[in-house]
């Protein structure tokens, strides 16, 4: 079976700074691939290359077996790669349904009387979010009044509805509390069960481990390897994620200063 996305030895340089080098991984449909890394590990660069914001400087990306090169976010989106950014790409003062359809509003009528089909948009927005298990009271509510988890859920439902094959989630749980993070993880599972390939970027192994099928760990722009869930016990993941030996050294150092 060919995977949805194959990355082979992808790298990115900003001038003489190596932001990303030698990243090789793949994403299968119906699987969650977690990309873990500390701050500055190259996670953002990795997302931006996939989302078409930046272009890679070396390596190959294949989408369903054919090589691709996204010039713009729009192009990536048209190829079924939807990204839910950390800042969510939402307009706080606009209602949920307008945000849901922003940029792709359903219309009716002929120009110059072409107008947004408001009833249809509201119904679809409520329905689609219901399918994901998201329960919004009123789609006329402005997004600014939703909680962080609810906003994430709207963004995920939107990406799923607009035919995303691959869903990239950039640190969706980093600003959330424990319960809200749990809600978002549930939506990740829901998206996976609907056959999407999910790329879940996080620095929290406790969030990644329960939902992930495969893990890629980035450290200082380099990939520390790909692991299937079965090959990687949770403690090992946590250890690798925190920089392994570095953490042990740090723990030792902290212990010694306490005395």
């Amino acid at each position: 079976m060919t995977s949805l996305i194959d990355l082979d030895n992808v790298g990115k340089f900003y001038g003489n700074i190596i932001a990303l080098k030698g990243v090789t991984t793949h994403v299968n449909a119906g699987e969650v691939t977690c990309v873990l890394g500390d701050n500055g590990a190259g996670k953002s660069t990795f997302i931006k290359i996939l989302a078409g914001v930046h272009q890679r400087d070396e390596g190959d990306i294949e989408l369903e077996g054919r090589p691709v090169n996204f010039e713009s976010p729009r192009e990536a989106l048209d190829n079924g790669i939807a990204t839910v950014y950390q800042d969510l790409a939402m307009v706080p003062l606009m209602s949920v349904w307008r945000n849901f359809f922003l940029g792709s509003e359903p219309t009716k009528g002929v120009w110059p009387f072409r107008r947004v089909d408001i009833d249809k948009a509201k119904a679809i927005a409520k329905d689609e979010m219901g399918k994901m298990g998201i329960d919004i009271r009123d789609t006329d509510q402005s997004v600014g009044t939703l909680s962080g988890g609810e906003r994430q859920s709207v963004a995920i439902a939107r990406a799923v509805y607009f035919g995303a094959k691959v869903l990239i989630l950039d640190e969706p749980t980093s600003a959330l509390g424990v319960k809200q993070s749990g809600v978002v993880l549930k939506y990740i599972i829901a998206a996976r069960d609907r056959g999407l390939g999910v790329i879940f970027i996080t620095h929290n192994p406790h969030h990644a481990y329960p939902v992930g099928d495969r893990f890629m760990i980035l450290n200082r722009g380099h990939s520390m390897g790909n692991f299937a869930k079965d090959d990687l016990p949770r403690d090992e993941l946590i250890r690798m994620m925190a920089g392994g030996a570095e953490l042990e050294a740090l723990a030792h150092e902290l212990e010694s200063t306490e005395r």
Partner: protein, 700 residues
């Protein structure tokens, strides 16, 4: 998977039992918000209330503000300002400013005329208007396109870019005018080929005095009454729970009552004398109550008898409100309306007790505030004692100064206005407090409000010398009292809705739109036509100008575009969060550039309207007006930060500005004060709108 289920154990579960019957498409967790609550969170509500208040104010203090001769010129002033305010507010919702918009209006008028002219050393192009007008539109769009592209490409604030454009246009206007026709006023668009055709579109007007229609008043009356009845129906439909099936008896009572009201008004207008007037009043009141009750019987569900107990704070509010109204009326009764005597002379020796009491009150209030503070340290004690001393002296002296400066006449007006308005507001607060929990008790309070208003109406009529208050205010106040009375009776007997009802809301909004349109049509009939009687009485001529139709058209189109089209959604999105909008696939740069082009197309329209009205355009025309457009938009509820606002509000804002332009000279004040007035309106409006917006965000 089990870990996730545990983490999300208390996720709210939708659906569930207890969904009220007959409610489709509404989530049962949403509390039903009445029509007033929904209106109160609209961005333009502050502007509408402000416009009404300012209109009332000028109506009261000027001679002609309520007549067609006063309103039609205000509409003409509002039109040019309003067209630009509407397009500028669209741009502001999109998150940008255009400081060149004012200068552009003059520029495009001048461009059109210069294209037509065939004189001077270099000569104009000597084109026909059929070519010159589309060509100047192209120039306009090019100006807007340049603004937009420069803003987008350079990433500079639009403030700077359009300020530069403002100076460029200003220079071009002067430079080209002087170079081509050697004059700073560019004139005579009427020499152009095709003038006769285009003047109908951009320059025609309707002289009211040339259009007599003797059936005007009955038509006006019928339209306004029918509109009011429809608005009442809509209000009821928004608020009461529908019964099923409907009861047709009520419908006949409603229609009968309506006929009775019309008959009563006919009696009033065709007869004279106290007895006939009393009979008419009786017929109108009785029929109105029958009509409203009939309407409710026909469509809504009865409720079981409620409690009429009024206790606690509400009771104090009711008593306090009635006492305040009584004191206001009593003061107006007791004091002499023509007296220029100061209050000091009026109270005689009693001035000293007043001064002493004010001093004591000042001492008590400041001491209570500062007592705890004074216990802190020695220094604080000294400072506190000094402060208390000052405030005591200040209140005593303030009371004396007030008595010295206020005349008896002024005191009377002040006491009457504060007593009556404060009392009515207090009563309304009591009614609001009793709310839906105690509908019967609230109805008692509404009944008291209706009676108070009626008493005030009769009192004002007996006291006032001018026909404005004797007839107009009297009629309006009595009608208001009648409506409140009917509302009170009906809401005591019928069940008010607590849940959304999409079908009822839809019907109600449609009925409300038709009713509103009927009322507006009635008012227009009265504004556009005159009667032979009025001509014989020698009313001054007034004109309705085509600018106003353009203004209405632009406002309607802009409202439609913002609310219903994709482009409208994108405007809000690029103004609210441009980065997000772009990430999600909204063509942000294109949207903003198109907005700049819309603004300059608006400037082109206004430029043409000016050219065809004035025939000559000065090179300074429009300079500096861009701030008035922005003020009108802000007064109308558009956020300076973008992403929030309404073009309808901007249109109302333009009306507010036009009323102050026209009203200040009409009130015989020096028109220099206009800017002080505008400044205060701007500040007040921004504060009010900010407050409303916070409420809106909290209640959504």
């Amino acid at each position: 998977m089990s870990e996730i289920a545990a983490a999300t154990g208390d996720q709210p579960v939708g659906g569930g039992a207890g969904k009220p019957i007959g409610v489709e498409g509404v989530d049962e967790r949403l509390a039903y918000r009445g029509v007033f609550q929904r209106l109160l969170i609209r961005p333009e509500i502050g502007a509408i209330i402000g416009a009404a208040a300012i209109w009332l104010f000028f109506w009261a203090v000027t001679g002609g503000f309520g007549t067609a001769g006063g309103i039609l010129p205000t509409m003409a002033v509002a039109a040019n300002l309003g067209i630009m305010a509407v397009v500028v507010s669209m741009l502001m919702i999109g998150g940008e400013f255009d400081l060149s918009s004012g200068a552009a209006t003059g520029t495009l008028g001048i461009v059109t005329i210069l294209l037509v002219k065939d004189v001077g050393e270099l000569g104009g192009a000597g084109l026909s208007l059929y070519i010159a007008i589309p060509l100047s539109l192209v120039v306009a769009l090019a100006i807007g396109w340049t603004n937009g592209v420069v803003v987008e490409r350079t990433g500079l604030p639009s403030f700077i870019v359009t300020l530069a454009m403002f100076f460029v246009l200003r220079g071009f206007k002067l430079g080209f005018s002087k170079k081509i026709i050697d004059n700073i006023s560019v004139g005579r668009v009427d020499e152009g080929h095709g003038y006769d055709f285009f003047v109908k579109i951009f320059g025609s007007s309707w002289a009211r005095n040339d259009h007599t229609w003797d059936a005007r008043d009955p038509v006006y009356m019928v339209l306004v009454l029918a509109g009011a009845a429809l608005l009442a129906l809509a209000l009821y439909e928004f608020n009461f729970r529908r019964r099923s099936p409907f009861n047709p008896t009520g419908m006949f009572a409603f229609l009968g009552g309506l006929a009775g009201v019309v008959a009563g008004i006919a009696i009033l207008h065709t007869t004279d004398g106290v007895g006939a007037n009393a009979l008419a009043a009786l017929v109108i009141t009785g029929s109105a109550i029958v009509a409203f009750l009939g309407l409710a019987v026909w469509r809504y569900e009865r409720q079981s008898a409620g409690s009429v107990e009024i206790t606690g704070t509400s009771l104090y509010l009711v008593v306090g409100g009635l006492v305040a109204i009584g004191l206001g009326i009593g003061a107006a009764w007791a004091l002499d309306v023509d007296s220029q005597q100061t209050v000091l002379d009026l109270v005689g020796f009693a001035r000293w007790p007043v001064v002493i009491v004010s001093g004591v009150v000042g001492f008590r209030m400041s001491y209570q505030r500062l007592a705890t503070h004074m216990a802190v340290s020695h220094e604080a004690r000294v400072q506190g004692i000094v402060a208390v001393g000052w405030l005591t002296l200040l209140s005593a002296f303030g009371a004396y100064a007030f008595m010295f400066m206020a005349t008896e006449q002024g005191l009377r007006a002040m006491l009457f206005a504060t007593g009556v308005i404060g009392g009515l507001i207090t009563l309304a607060m009591a009614a609001h407090r009793l709310g839906r929990a105690l509908p019967a008790a609230r109805s008692v309070v509404l009944f008291l409000i209706a009676v108070s208003i009626a008493v005030i109406a009769f009192f004002m009529r007996s006291q006032s010398g001018t026909p404005k208050f004797r007839a107009e205010a009297f009629t309006v106040l009595l009608a208001l009292a009648l409506l409140i009375l009917c509302w009170g009776i009906v809401s005591a007997v019928f069940v008010q809705r607590r849940h959304g009802d999409a079908a009822a809301d839809r019907l109600a909004s449609r009925v409300a739109i038709v009713g509103g349109a009927a009322v507006i049509a009635g008012v227009l009939v009265r504004l556009l036509f005159t009667t032979q009687d009025e001509i014989d009485a020698g009313i001054p001529p007034a004109q309705f100008r085509v600018e106003f139709l353009w203004f209405i058209a632009v406002t309607l189109v802009a409202t439609y575009v913002l609310g219903k089209t994709r482009f409208g959604s994108w405007i809000f999105a690029v103004g609210g969060n441009k980065q997000a909008a772009r990430q999600i696939g909204v063509p942000a740069a294109r949207t903003k550039t198109q907005l700049f082009m819309i603004v300059s197309a608006g400037a082109w329209l206004v430029g043409l309207l000016l050219a065809f009205r004035l025939n000559t355009i000065q090179s300074g025309t429009g300079n500096g007006l861009e701030f008035e457009y922005i003020i009108a938009a802000v007064v109308g509820g558009t956020a300076l930060t973008g992403g929030y606002g309404s073009v309808f509000g901007a249109a109302i804002g333009a009306f507010i500005m036009a009323m102050s332009t026209q009203g200040i000279p009409a009130a015989r004040w020096n028109s220099d004060w206009r800017f002080a007035f505008l400044g205060m309106i701007l500040l007040g409006a921004v504060i009010a709108n900010n407050f409303i917006r916070k409420q809106a965000e909290a209640s959504r």
